[in-house]
Symmetry: C2
Subunit: 478 residues, 2 copies
């Protein structure tokens, strides 16, 4: 208590000494000081009970007469802002706090924030992040920031983070690139904006996989391009199906979203040949391939290409936390100048605050350790989900997936004859689950009926419970 | 040293125990473990010298035979990855660190980062931020984050930050609003995108001040709107000059950018009347009015309006640091639903990482204290700049400015007869200064000749030196 009081008192004095008064103004000094002191007190509820400096001290600090200060103190005592305590000075009154709050503000809860619901996809288990270590990286980066951190920021991002990402890609994705080719963004949407506004331009015909991440359609529309969906088969995108005259294609070769199919090497080679021959760009969206549980992952498509006709997109939303809002793209060297010109024009959007912390988190090895730990946890959760759903294996095509954070489960005929995936999704929603319908991620006819079941973010007992609820929804009435 | 070794050793064991092996694969377990261990070591330079777990322990953890583990250890010893020390076990060799770097990466310096140059405008003195306090807020927010911080984020921003901003606006800008009306953005550009993409739509005729912030033109073009510059006079924007049929106007009433003129009350009232009568929106860009050194600031225009026909834009780039990339807008209640729909569609871009720290920084009173301290420092620097330029007062119209972070100094005829402001800006650039020419911020004819001299971010001796350099540039040859 006495510490608190000293602290507040020190603040108040310092603030008072910082007041700017101007004798050349028409407003008398006394009125200026009165206004300033009133403002100070009504602005800072934490000043309640703080002692004011002696009038002599304040007068000397502000180079005004002591009479002026005393007159202001007196007036504010009469107004109830200040109180005197016999023999011990003048204090900020406790009754005036309500003046500082023109309207009551609820602080504790955000009415629009909601918990994540089971089977939500694309979500890591954020509770398992090594928060103490992460917070320490943040604190160390900013407690006495290097001059570089306070210098003119590069709109392409914090260089040591770009170097750490380049290392990570070499080690995990067999993608060799210079740190200078890595561009930090505020997420996938901005990455696509850089690609389409800054590098390829509008009016492009862009082939996309069908099914695909539904937002891709709106991103392409919003950037003034047209989307040309190409139905994938059991091996993913097939080059002969690409539309003639496409300027670019967006693919998820490591793990097709949402089905989880991995594009085999011959198709990758064919895709890169197609790009070279037609001059089209291949945009590789590599959103969670670090989470591979079995088998050797294929190198990234961009690594195979050597980043000539490919642009690589990555993100930390699934590897670390969506709170970061940090994604990145890796661009071919011949596109670097245009990338810089565009980002100089529109300005960076990614906050610099997490970037140095993320760089040291990666360089310390804690990031790789976290990924490996999550890989183990997520593998266990996938197994658990498969076991929990085993009782309804007559209705759902259950198969282990060698990677990823969700299962894409097709409906068997016994189920799809009775219900659509959209109906199941709707009923699941009513029961507190968040299940995306596979058919809603397709735009071409013959939509596949299936469910996307995110398991990464949920503990085993939640998964069991959610699987039970799903079973209740899809089981035939007795 | 021994602590470090224990730590690394602990990491290595933990990582090894997390390896996923799959006996159903064609690749033998031994080859899988070899590949995994090689990857682990070449990925983490900090593992050098770490001790490997005993082969018996690892075999038990991975449920494989001890012979397999020993065979892998032996092969890696022969490859030079590992070394044995007599009687004390197996260690990661120190010679292999170079293996982890497929290409040398410069880590220390970002070749494209530059120091800020004197007279740069719009820049706070970031070295004076209470970094330790700020870093502590970051650390406290994230060391064991509340469930709300890990829940589904509101695309409108972290609610306690929105509440803190609402408090700040009530106290400093006489703007009363609900926290729910405050929308966090990644900066001014995104704020304008929300306004034009999400609320007003494209194809709008937007009146802007002339001169103005040059990026406004490109933002309006990029969002599909047309800019209609209106020449300001000595009192700022005058309503009778607004173009007929304008759908919106963007103004800087507290402190016109770049001239520093404050819009008088009668003109504010007239502007709000115009908006009410025509149904147009007034967008108030209130970018640095917290830094007022003399006189009473007028309440914000949006406060006067009660946020009916006004949208308010603010930013922390100048008040705290551009590294945050945190700005905000305050929207009328009747526009909240559209704001949410738009942000649900495009997603949030502002990082969540700085938001809880900024909220507690503001609620603790440290933010207000920082602003008051900066106000005092910047006032002193402005005075210092005026004194330092006094020798060339026959060439420049020097006048104290009651607020802001830069002086807008018009050229006297004796100077403008010899040189344009653009020439001065160019020569200043060659001498390491960053002086914007006022005429380049105008698009209408009869451009005003003047210089923008940012002083906030620079210490007195740098200001003196820069003023001397400027004097050398503009003084007539002897």
């Amino acid at each position: 208590m006495s510490n608190l009081e000293t602290f507040s008192k020190a603040n108040l004095s310092r603030d008072l000494f910082a007041i700017s008064l101007d004798s050349s103004l028409k407003t008398p000094l006394q009125a200026q000081l009165l206004e300033a002191l009133r403002g100070l007190i009504s602005m800072s509820p934490d000043l309640v009970g703080a002692r004011l400096p002696a009038s002599r001290t304040l007068a000397s600090e502000l180079s005004i007469s002591r009479t002026t200060v005393q007159a202001v103190y007196d007036q504010m005592i009469s107004e109830g802002y200040l109180v005197t305590r016999q023999g011990s000075g003048t204090y900020v009154a406790s009754e005036i706090t309500h003046l500082s709050q023109p309207h009551p503000i609820p602080r504790d809860a955000d009415p629009t924030t909601h918990a994540w619901r089971p089977f939500q996809t694309g979500l890591p288990d954020q509770t398992l992040l090594p928060h103490r270590q992460w917070a320490r990286h943040l604190e160390r980066a900013w407690r006495s920031p290097t001059p570089e951190l306070l210098a003119r920021p590069d709109p392409l991002g914090w260089h040591p983070l770009r170097a750490a990402i380049s290392d990570h890609l070499a080690a995990w994705r067999h993608l060799s690139c210079d740190p200078g080719q890595v561009v930090i963004t505020s997420g996938a949407r901005e990455a696509f904006e850089v690609v389409f506004h800054g590098l390829l331009g509008a009016g492009k015909r862009v082939a996309i996989e069908d099914p695909c991440w539904p937002k891709l359609h709106t991103i392409l529309t919003d950037t003034g391009n047209s989307a040309h969906p190409v139905r994938i088969d059991q091996d993913g995108l097939d080059v002969p199906r690409l539309p003639i005259g496409a300027h670019a294609t967006i693919v998820t070769p490591s793990r097709h979203y949402p089905t989880g199919v991995s594009l085999p090497l011959p198709r990758r080679v064919a895709l890169l040949d197609w790009a070279r021959q037609t001059g089209a760009m291949v945009i590789e969206d590599d959103y969670d391939s670090e989470f591979r549980y079995r088998g050797q992952p294929l190198p990234s498509l961009s690594g195979l290409d050597g980043l000539n006709n490919t642009i690589y997109l990555g993100s930390f939303s699934k590897l670390v936390s969506p709170a970061l809002r940090i994604g990145y793209l890796v661009v071919p060297k011949h596109m670097l100048q245009n990338t810089r010109t565009y980002l100089d024009h529109v300005g960076a959007r990614a906050s610099l605050i997490p970037q140095p912390a993320l760089a040291t988190f990666m360089n310390s090895g804690e990031f790789a350790m976290h990924l490996r730990r999550m890989r183990r946890v997520y593998a266990r959760r996938q197994n658990h989900l498969l076991s929990a759903l085993a009782p309804v294996s007559n209705l759902l095509k259950l198969q282990p997936d060698s990677s990823g954070m969700h299962l894409c489960v097709e409906l068997r005929t016994a189920l799809s004859n009775r219900m659509t995936d959209v109906e199941i999704s709707k009923r699941a929603d009513e029961r507190g689950l968040r299940i995306s319908a596979l058919s809603e991620q397709c735009v071409l006819p013959r939509k596949i009926q299936g469910l996307l079941l995110g398991y990464a973010a949920f503990e085993e007992d939640i998964i069991s419970n959610a699987a039970d609820r799903l079973a209740t929804i899809i089981q035939p009435p007795c």
